[in-house]
Structures are given as structure tokens and as C-alpha cells.
Symmetry: C2
Subunit: 254 residues, 2 copies
């Protein structure tokens, strides 16, 4: 009990405490540094002790994911669908920025956690409540979940990282090393323009939040247009979908 202070030298190690500590450790040291051994040490306990509370490392990761997904604001009751979706998506994004490991962890898991499913479900629910057909809601969810360029998570992260030689970095221009600029002139042009255009962005080259909202609004506005004109998948209303130029590009969809 409380009498023997040194026997209860630590808080008594529960699944919840393990998950909280694991999230904190991944936040601080990166997901690569999250080993069962490191986590155990952080908790002042031997590695195998963890296995009395989580089945294995995969289950630990699942727990961590649901832990952070729960941080996403619940859907707002007021407002139209667009407002609701927008706020929710931005809240999810804030969570992902707080926990940079989460995005990759979620995508890596081979089966979605209950928390993730609940989030997606409530998102579909918001579209449905806004009068969307099941059909349109379905396709819109896909559109919001897919990345058109297959990769390059935050597009210029790589080039930005390549230019970092310290945390100070007061030089906003020349994000590219010169030889890269020669090889990739268009990227260099874009990167250069981005670093000049706005004083509110200090050293990083471009305003991630602006870019994200640009993409979000581009999509939401398109979706709103489809919704208003009563789009259905059997009779597509999008211009280029009707006049599809590359029927041969369709794959076998296996």
C-alpha cells in the first residue's frame, strides 16, 4: 500500500501508463527509438514486464494509435457539413503534427484500429448528414484518403531537409544546393519563389499549413460542386471524367 514507499517505487505499471509513456517516447525520440527495451527502461522496469500488459509490439502500436486518434476533436454539432468536415480534418492534422510518427504508423498497420475506424465512420456520417448520397460520400472519402502523387509526403520536406545544416538556418533562399538546382530547374524555381513570397514564414521555404488548407479547400469546393449538381457515379458530371482521354490507361483493378 502506501506504507512501503520503496516497494511501490513506481506507479504500478498499467496498460494505460505504458501507452502514455510509449507515445511520449515516440514523440520525443522518434518511432525508431521505441523498442520494448527502451520503453521498459523509461518505465523503470525489465523489458518482459511489458508483456504482462500488451501482447506484443504490434499491439502496443495499435494502442498508441488509438491513444492519439482519441485526441482528434469530436465532430461539431453545429454548422453545415463543410464546416464540420473542415474543422475535423484540421484537428486531425494538428494531432498528426503533435505526433509525427503516427501517420506512418497508422499506414503501416495491416488492420485498422477501432479508433481509426470510428474516426472514418464519423467522417462519412458528417457527409451523410449533409445530404450526400452513400455513393458520393464513398467516393469523396476515397478522394480525401488518397494521395495523387503516389509519394512525397510533404512535398518539399526532402529538399528542405537536404538544405538543413543546423536549427538556426537564417537563409530562406537557396533551399537547394546549387548543383541540384541545375538538375531540377523547375523544383528550384518553385522552391525559390516560395521562400520569397511571405514574411510570415521564417526559414522553412513554404507554409505547410497554407498548403494543406489550399489542398483541403480545393477538394472541398470540388466536392461541394458535385454535391450541388447531384453527381452520381453512373452519370459523372466532371468534365474530364466524361471526356476521358486515356481509356487504355485503365488497369485491371486486381
Amino acid at each position: 500500500m502506501a506504507e512501503q514507499a520503496d516497494v511501490a517505487r513506481r506507479a504500478p505499471l498499467s496498460r494505460a501508463r505504458i501507452l502514455r509513456t510509449a507515445v511520449a517516447l515516440a514523440d520525443d525520440a522518434g518511432i525508431a527509438a521505441l523498442s520494448m527495451r527502451n520503453l521498459a527502461q523509461e518505465l523503470g522496469v525489465v523489458p518482459m514486464a511489458l508483456y504482462k500488459h500488451v501482447a506484443n509490439k504490434d499491439e502496443l502500436l495499435d494502442g498508441m494509435i488509438d491513444e492519439v486518434v482519441a485526441e482528434i476533436d469530436p465532430p461539431a454539432a453545429d454548422g453545415d457539413w463543410k464546416h464540420t468536415i473542415r474543422r475535423r480534418v484540421l484537428s486531425a492534422r494538428q494531432m498528426l503534427r503533435r505526433h509525427p510518427w503516427a501517420s506512418l504508423a497508422i499506414e503501416t498497420r495491416d488492420t485498422a484500429t477501432p479508433g481509426v475506424l470510428a474516426y472514418l465512420d464519423s467522417m462519412v456520417g458528417a457527409f451523410r448528414a449533409g445530404g450526400f448520397s452513400v455513393d458520393l460520400a464513398h467516393h469523396v472519402m476515397h478522394a480525401m484518403g488518397s494521395r495523387i502523387l503516389g509519394f512525397s509526403q510533404e512535398l518539399f520536406d526532402a529538399s528542405r531537409r537536404a538544405g538543413r545544416s543546423g536549427t538556426s538556418g537564417p537563409e530562406p533562399s537557396a533551399v537547394f544546393p546549387p548543383e541540384a538546382a541545375a538538375r531540377f530547374p523547375h523544383l528550384a524555381e518553385v522552391a525559390g519563389a516560395a521562400s520569397h513570397e511571405d514574411g510570415s514564414v521564417v526559414g522553412s521555404g513554404c507554409d505547410d499549413q497554407f498548403e494543406f488548407e489550399f489542398a483541403l479547400d480545393l477538394l472541398l469546393d470540388g466536392v461541394e460542386r458535385l454535391h450541388r449538381q447531384g453527381w452520381t457515379s453512373s452519370e459523372p458530371g466532371m468534365s474530364s471524367t466524361a471526356a476521358r482521354v486515356l481509356p487504355a490507361d485503365r488497369m485491371t483493378s486486381g
Copy 2:
């Protein structure tokens, strides 16, 4: 040379052969099964032999990425920007389907490979050639590279995988186990509708290729609209960007 057939018992192990074999192994057995030891065994060689041709495993992965990125069709010279972009993106997608490990591998690397940079550069070039301002091209690239829902790569992959109990799976409905359907009614509704709507989709629930092109065209059409109306970031022309509802949601972008 060719005289001693047993001395040259294998093709002489070059960087190119290592990369080709590594790609094939990752394609077949999954990226998790690609260890230096496994790869060496596949090549009939001792693990440390690989290190005479690649610096370490990270560099091996970089090489593999450039290997598969090179499979993306070069940009078409003819046609308008939309045609060019669309074809290129779809070609990239086909590559990513051939090499399911590639998408994650590319996103995991902390510095973009030359091949990836070249691909992105040519993409920006296509927009520029289509008359896009540097500004718009920049933001559009971000929009195409970002995923609005922060995760869930192919949205219903997870639920689909949860329902797989074999390769046959002749039952298109009930993608969800019933208890999950009760907890996530909207997802269940969407998943159920998807499995009924089209005879061309056999067992998988929804047509990934259709979903992808839906998202692609939604974005391209929105982009075309912005382009036509001379959008600039200083004076946004998108409806919801002008009447932004949630200024407080903006983060410090740091």
C-alpha cells in the same frame, strides 16, 4: 573467364544485379522479408559481399527506389498540360501497384532520391509549360502530394483485409463483420453499397482505379478552374478560402 564455369558459378554480382534482385525479392516476399542476409542468399553469396557494392541498407533502398521510379513513363510531348499530367500520374500509380513496397519506402526515406526529384521536377515542368505561374504550380504540387485525411492509404483496405479469409472470397457483400457494422454504421453503409453497385468489380468491394481517377479528376478540374481564373495566392479565388471559417485553427506552422 568462360573457361572455368564453376568459378563463375554466378553472374559476377554487380550493383545493378543486386538492385534488380532486391526489387524482385521485395515484390515477391514483401519489404519486411528483404534483409541483407536474405538478399545475399538469393544471390548465392555471403551477406557481407553486398557491402562491396552498396554502402548500407539505406543506400540499397535508395537504389531500389530509383530503380522503380525509372519505370514511370516519360512525359508525353504532345497534348495539353492536363493530358500530360494525367498520363504521368496514372503511370506512376501503375508502377506503385507493381511494387507495393515502394510507396512506403519512398515516404520513409528521410532524403529524396535523385530519381524522385527528377520525377517531381518534370511534373512541375509540365504545369509551367501549360502556362501555370510558379506560384500556382507550387501550391498545386503540394495539393497533389498531400493526403487530406492524414492516413488510411487506400481507404477501405483495412476493412477489406479484415474480411479476407482466403483468396477466393466469392461473397461481395458483408465486407464488414457484423459487430463492426454495428459500431461503424456509416462505414458499413458505404462498404455495402460499394459491393453492390457494379458487376465489373468482383469481390473486393470497390474499384480502386475508379476511386483514384475520381480523386485525380476532382483535383485536376479544380486546378484547371483556378488556372483559368488567374488564381494567385495573394488573392485567393476559392470560395471557402475567401470566407475562411476557422481562422483560429491556423497553427503556428513551425
